[in-house]
Symmetry: C2
Subunit: 163 residues, 2 copies
């Protein structure tokens, strides 16, 4: 970082500040809503959602971590907690003896079914009810671009001389 930094323009600064405030406030809001209504933080809820949508309601740990964009370590802790709650169960993977499947239990599914409407309502109220369909489209496109740029890269992409 020896070259002169390119500071943010006025518009970029305003956007960045708004981004930080909105994302902080929303994540807090969702955490509070779900902690109150479902007894777990937002990230944990997201794990149950992913499992509920997977074939046979089960996923390999690494795959779940990849989809949810969290580390395997964090997932290990999270699943341990969800298992204590009886909402997820661990199961040996038949094809790879190192592997574990996280399986959504019926109880876990019931919790999800019960709390999903309230959660959707909260998300709507915070985001979709305030934006025009056009803005929803713009936001989606922008977020896809950002997410794509932040995916853990193929190692070789950082080492072009190896390609």
């Amino acid at each position: 970082m020896t070259t002169a930094p390119r500071w943010l323009s006025e518009q970029e600064q305003r956007t960045w500040r708004a981004y930080l405030q909105a994302t902080t406030l929303l994540e807090d809001h969702l955490d509070r809503q779900l902690q109150r209504d479902a007894g777990m933080p937002h990230v944990y809820y997201g794990l149950l959602v992913q499992l509920s949508q997977a074939p046979e309601r089960r996923l390999r740990m690494t795959e779940l971590a990849r989809i949810a964009k969290i580390t395997r370590s964090r997932l290990s802790h999270a699943v341990a907690r969800l298992e204590r709650n009886g909402w997820v169960r661990r199961e040996d993977c038949p094809s790879d003896r190192r592997g574990q499947n996280a399986v959504l239990t019926d109880e876990g599914y019931a919790v999800l079914k019960q709390t999903a409407p309230g959660h959707v309502a909260t998300v709507r109220q915070a985001m979709f009810d305030r934006l025009t369909p056009e803005q929803v489209g713009q936001l989606g496109e922008i977020m896809r671009i950002m997410a794509e740029g932040l995916q853990p890269q193929d190692t070789d992409a950082d080492l072009p001389w190896l390609r």
Copy 2:
């Protein structure tokens, strides 16, 4: 929540998922970058930035918490840590004996000065270098709308019969 839930449309679902992924990945990315280069998480860095921009580089605890969108409790812990680092100092507020000012020290300012370029570069690379100026404008507008809707409301707004 007794009425039939209005689920998200296809477009809304895609946008929501992209939003979750992008914000999760970006926050992680910034935390890692700042932990590595500045020895503190992103939120703590943001506190130093706010202080650096305040008159006399100091702010009342409550005001700083309000600006940074975090709880006072969290701020207390954070400032305690930053104080141990020598980057912030606490000071009694002259006009209100309950109050404390958080003051950015010269050391704290130096850390900021040293790490700001790298941080801006990271933000640019993750967001602004990937978006058109038009998209930056759209994102800013959308985030302002969301943040506004999530501000802790004036109590009376929830109690119209008291107005």
